[in-house]
Symmetry: C2
Subunit: 432 residues, 2 copies
Amino acid sequence: MKQLFKHCDILATENDAFRVIRNGFLGIDGTMIDYIGETRPAQTYDTEKDMSGKLVAPGLMNCHGHTPMVLLRGVGSDLPLHEWLFEQMMPVEDRLTADDIRVGNQLALLEMIACGTTSYSDMYFEMETVAENAISAGVRANLCRPVVCLDEQEKYEDNIRAKQSLELFRAYNGAANGRIKIDFSIHAEYTSFPGIIERYSKDCKKLGGRMHIHLSESKREHDACVAKYGKTPAKWFLDRGTFDSPTAAAHCVWVTNEDLDILKEKDVSVVHNPTSNLKLGSGFAPIPRMLEKGIRVTIGTDGAASNNNLNMMEELHLAAIMHNGYHLDPVIMNPAQVLKMATANGAALQGRTDTGALTVGKKADMIAFQMDWPHLVPDFNALALLTYSAQASDVCLNMVDGKILYENGEYLTLDAEKIRFEAEAALKRIYG
Amino acid sequence: MKQLFKHCDILATENDAFRVIRNGFLGIDGTMIDYIGETRPAQTYDTEKDMSGKLVAPGLMNCHGHTPMVLLRGVGSDLPLHEWLFEQMMPVEDRLTADDIRVGNQLALLEMIACGTTSYSDMYFEMETVAENAISAGVRANLCRPVVCLDEQEKYEDNIRAKQSLELFRAYNGAANGRIKIDFSIHAEYTSFPGIIERYSKDCKKLGGRMHIHLSESKREHDACVAKYGKTPAKWFLDRGTFDSPTAAAHCVWVTNEDLDILKEKDVSVVHNPTSNLKLGSGFAPIPRMLEKGIRVTIGTDGAASNNNLNMMEELHLAAIMHNGYHLDPVIMNPAQVLKMATANGAALQGRTDTGALTVGKKADMIAFQMDWPHLVPDFNALALLTYSAQASDVCLNMVDGKILYENGEYLTLDAEKIRFEAEAALKRIYG
């Protein structure tokens, strides 16, 4: 089917830079964008949609999270980190069944889709059910089951999580015409031992996989690694061969200048998680320095237990302002950088060269913002408006592969009422 | 008229602390709250409103802003501060007419009311028209015309702004049964001279007025004052007698420990402006230290030119997380503190003992949040949910003095369409 969006403002990408087209036309042929321009295309389309008063933008890529943790939103709120994690989070997570995770992820999908996310990267367990959800919901997803190893004597062959990770990869990588990708994943240096990580990293490289890790999120974990191994977590992963596969490194708050050289050299993608880093008191990742060095920075929400939502628009806003405040420099970050982090850079991290920008030939993965709210007047600079003024609730349309998933509050691929009902039942099971 | 809200969760205040009442009842007699409880009141009400699935909370008090600057939203975005202010902002402000300011303020009212603000403090010029707007819109407002003096030789009697400020006070202070208050205002130390400020501060005290100032917003301005006078701006104002009237001091980013002692001693209220301080690269106000010292901290959005919206929910969120990140301490701030800053503390700053909390005998100034969105599930902790997870768009009702101003997207006292139309015309006039 050929669809035409007409009379919309378009946040297009030309020569790797954003260009705002006013009152334009965007054509879709099946799953692909086949026209973007200021004038009506010559060809005809099966359907035409009047998008007056709307801005069409590339879909947001949420590059780090643990979506089923929406079921733990607000649990143990405002406790110190260690107490929160070990006394509140983990006992609940131990109780989660595959069905809880199915429902939790669906609840997260409702939130993410309404907030403009078209593609997300997720690290959790029971990911088969999460893959099935993504297939039916129509979103893109890079999913992983992280390796954790708490017993130094454990053999690689006996690590159940590594086994599950490989099974997940074989079963779902490339599913739904590539909408689903399965990543390899190591939870973090402090939850692993070198031997297993070396073997797992080798398997990742052999199978042509992508890697997703936590890296230097907290000072405590970063310093403990240096004390234990005499090297930073980044150097530790480098020496394990982990970075020999394309890697997404979440947080990177405490990385050193030498670590940044490693990340640049190995083309590691950084996932910036602004809210989580602030809320949990992790600190300020050196994002401006990373951008200066040409490191690929992307954006993620982290899990709802440490955020406490999955609202990418909030993350864009924070990424654009928090470093200004920290460095006492109002121009150290700008909207174009942040929007690129949340779109094209995210696509590159996920190994998706066919999305992340509104350009002819790319996938029709896009969102629309209703732009006639009082808080979006005047519209002198669409990039600034999206970054500083817009709210997630301004998202009025979410499309992936040319298929509308959400429009004006209605979900077209998910049964919101059923999910809400099942979530309540799951919460009763979990918390009694 | 007597109105009953039934089956709502209520963020009530008991003994100066929040208490969440589940599935409760809230009765309103005229402009006042006359019942809050878990059971149906014995008395009868003229109307009953089913509020199932909603949380009723005290209205938000936006304690510092320059509302007509919504007309400058995004102008000169991402320029260095000096260039932005002197080359972009000021030339536009010089062109603003009273009618532009009327329309700009109305546009701001649409935004603020939808985002849950019931009372706001505003510093700008042509404030008679802003007062008239507040009277007809039904909100509470503390308005001021700031004194600026750029000529050291100017006599107090010749300062047109001081004169306008006093005229405004005489004409509108206490209007609309006290909904409108007129504050005295000194723009800042760096835009004034001692003589005029001493005379004006004396007039404020004599007339029993309240004062609204900018204080130590940027390092540059703070340091320049120390260099010029050998004392900090806080000490400078103290010595001018400014703090002899109840004072609202916006920003306070660079205040010293000695300054904090002054603010505490003189019962000065601090207005924290999280987004503005981050976006403009001003820095991190020492809010946790202020709270420790028992200084009254409130919250404001600042103007839309330096924010770039008037969304108090965004400010609550930031106030709750940014200091955790800065101090590497996840529990240095908590939701109850932040919600109190945005409600009861704001009311105290504005000199309004009759609002800012849901308690029997207080004014019926309240907002309701629609709580059944996916991003607000589960609801273990309403305070955490409002602070960390909720969005301004979850506000479904705004009531002041027992009168509904906004409900489910509809404005009951403002003609949104007319305002939008007039704003477009004003923007054309201003920018051509």
